[in-house]
Amino acid sequence: MSTTKENPVIAARRAGRNALDESAGKQLLAAHGIKVPQSRVAKGLADVDAVMKGLQAPVVVKVMSPDILHKSDAGGVKVNLRTATEVRAAIEGMINAPKIKGARIDGFLIEEMAPAGHELVIGGLRDPQFGPLVMVGLGGIFVEILKDVSFRLCPIARIDAEEMLTELKGAAILKGARGTKPASLEAIIDVLLKIGGENGLLMQHAGDISEADINPLIVSDTAAVAVDARFILG
């Protein structure tokens, strides 16, 4: 990601936004050394050919709109697209989707799909008394139903990141239970430190970011990739 671009937090603040859109969120993550999928923004159907030339299929297309909070629910996400034709068809479908029709559309994020792996969630929030906190959990039902998450106050040290992972009830799953490949714990710890560590994202932007949510972080046996990210400012 280019370092000459303006800091996305400052840019969003100046534009009067109370959140970073997905593209800006990933730009912020990339600036902190966290892997994000290669992506380009297509303003409209006319850009699709040029954008697809720089990307490795399969790709995913996501609508970019300040009015749409849950893109998947609105029909604003299409995965596993292999050609420019498929991408254009997906975009046309989105433009006409009932929940998207009336919304302001900034463009379409076209992004390489991350290789398969374990789904994790890494989050952050600012406590009014204690300041920034970082959180990690296993994705899906583990976070949503079982609330199997672990919190620490920022900044965390390496040992804190390690203990956060061992504290999860589902920790064994990351080591490769039931025939699945193990997740790279090193890669997760690295992301946790880049988010919640001494000079991490949350400490650097403690005054601006009230909530952060990387969901999912897809972790293979070698790498961790932030596939979606939301940052609430305030």
């Binding site: 406590d127 008394q129 204690f130 906190l133 919190f151 040992i159 804190d160």
Partner: protein, 478 residues
């Protein structure tokens, strides 16, 4: 000025002013004057009164600014509205003012008054304790707001946001053998917060273990930073009120501020090595173990041997300790073999737990314990040994000195194997008055020898688990 220098006038005041004492001698501040005199306070006491010239035989002064010497500590218990003007009139003449009175930030209509109070304290050039608290207990200064308390200074430093709980800590601590380096109640924390006292206790050479009762940490980030920078140099036990939604609502009306989220406190404990407890009993139990036993990070407590009378008690305790992450596992063959050679009476279990009926323990008037424990220490290699005696089983069946001999035997084994195992005594009783009296007397003796004594196995287990947690934290982060 160092933190020690800043707080010395509070912990060892040479001059004490009292606002609210009446000429009739029956108000709370009159009681305070009597208490500190009885406690041996040898400095000057200055009653402040708008009209009287003398209170409780002491010359009275019109204002905090009029006392012959500057005031190290002012104890204030009058109706709230008149206090701000009294503080701002002090003009740098007062170091610490403790406002016991309530009716401030803990109620909606008092929030403005509390702000006014804090401004007045700043204008008067003093640090403010409270409002809505009970006072202090400090042996080095011989000042106390509690009726009774230990007469010997010790290693436990306390800060409490609740005044009543502060008194409970002193009184219960006294009966359990806790000895304090100081206790300060800070109530609504309009100025001085628990973090300030934490910083002092970390720096204070007299203090070896720190206890905090906290309902809210408005300066949570600072609390975290102090704990983190201290790197668990001293054990810190936190009794946190308001960890549930309902408790939080109760705390809001008690100290007038929002309590932090429970998961923050759990994170704080995991990251800084402080220990969170849920009840006053656990708080005192945990402080007691750290007062008595030096943590051993290089040999963190894991393997525990239970030794005493009561088979069911041993089984239940084994379950309880396992749930707490401690191991009560059977000895290896060589240890069992060596114990078997003692040919103890039938009914004695010589694995671990070691269950010895009274018939066994009273052999050689209790000195048999020395042989058993010597083998356990030499070959069993436990990190901790819990000796438990059910006193009701001894009464009427053994000579009175048997109990003393059992503990004396244990102490000799401790000396023979220095640094081998933490030694803890559990004295179980049934609440019958004569037995309770015997237990108290016996407990005092054991406490005087530096042994932490508990009422039940679970209390000892919780305290041991806290000690183990602290030791592991130090070991992992040294």
């Amino acid at each position: 000025m160092t933190i020690i220098e800043q707080f010395t006038p509070l912990f060892a005041p040479k001059t004490v002013a009292v606002i609210g004492a009446s000429t009739k001698g029956n108000a709370l501040p009159n009681v305070f004057i009597r208490r500190i005199r009885e406690f041996g306070f040898s400095g000057d006491i200055y009653p402040i009164h708008p009209g009287a010239t003398e209170i409780d035989g002491l010359p009275a002064y019109k204002s905090l600014a009029d006392t012959p010497k500057p005031v190290d500590y002012a104890y204030i218990a009058v109706s709230g509205a008149q206090i701000p003007a009294m503080l701002s009139a002090a003009k740098g003449h007062v170091r610490f003012a403790q406002v016991v009175s309530s009716g401030f930030g803990e109620v909606d209509e008092g929030k403005g008054l509390q702000e006014e109070l804090a401004r007045a304290a700043r204008a008067g050039g003093m640090r403010l304790l409270g409002p809505n608290c009970l006072g202090i207990y400090t042996l080095r200064g011989r000042v106390t707001s509690t009726e009774i308390g230990p007469k010997e200074v010790g290693p436990v430093g306390i800060v409490s946001q609740s005044g009543g709980l502060g008194t409970d800590i002193i009184r219960r601590g006294l009966s359990r053998g806790l000895k304090f380096s100081g206790l300060v109640t800070v109530g609504n924390c309009a100025d001085v917060t628990p973090s300030d006292l934490l910083e002092f206790y970390f720096a204070d050479p007299q203090t070896k273990v720190i206890g905090m009762y906290i309902e809210t940490a408005k300066d949570g980030r600072r609390l975290f930073d102090i704990l983190r920078n201290a790197k668990a140099a001293k054990p810190v036990v936190i009794l946190k009120g308001g960890r549930t939604q309902q408790g939080l609502a109760a705390a809001a009306s008690h100290t007038g501020s929002l309590a932090g989220d429970d998961r923050v406190w759990i994170a704080l404990a995991r990251q800084t090595g402080c220990m969170l407890v849920d009840t006053l009993d656990q708080f005192i139990d945990t402080l007691l173990i750290f007062q008595a036993l030096a943590p051993r990070p290089q040999r963190a407590t894991q393997k525990v041997v239970l030794f005493g009378n009561g088979g069911g008690t041993s089984v239940l305790a084994t379950d309880c300790y396992a749930r707490l992450g401690l191991d009560v596992t059977p000895f290896e063959d060589n240890t069992i073999g060596a114990l078997a050679e003692l040919k103890l009476p039938p009914g004695t279990s010589i694995t671990n737990p070691v269950d010895c009926p009274v018939g066994t323990l009273q052999q050689e008037d209790g000195r048999v314990a020395e042989k058993i424990l010597d083998i356990i220490y030499a070959q069993g290699n436990p990190e901790a040994l819990v000796m438990h005696l059910n006193l009701s089983a001894f009464v009427g069946r053994t000579k009175p000195e048997v109990l003393d001999n059992l503990v004396a035997a244990a102490m000799r084994v401790q000396e023979k194997h220095p640094g081998k195992a933490h030694f803890i005594l559990v004295l179980r009783s049934d609440g019958e008055p004569a037995l309770e009296a015997r237990k108290r007397e016996f407990r005092d003796k054991a406490v005087a020898l530096g042994v932490p004594v508990y009422d039940e196995m679970a209390n000892a287990g919780n305290a041991l688990a806290a000690l183990a947690t602290f030791e592991r934290f130090k070991a992992a982060r040294a």
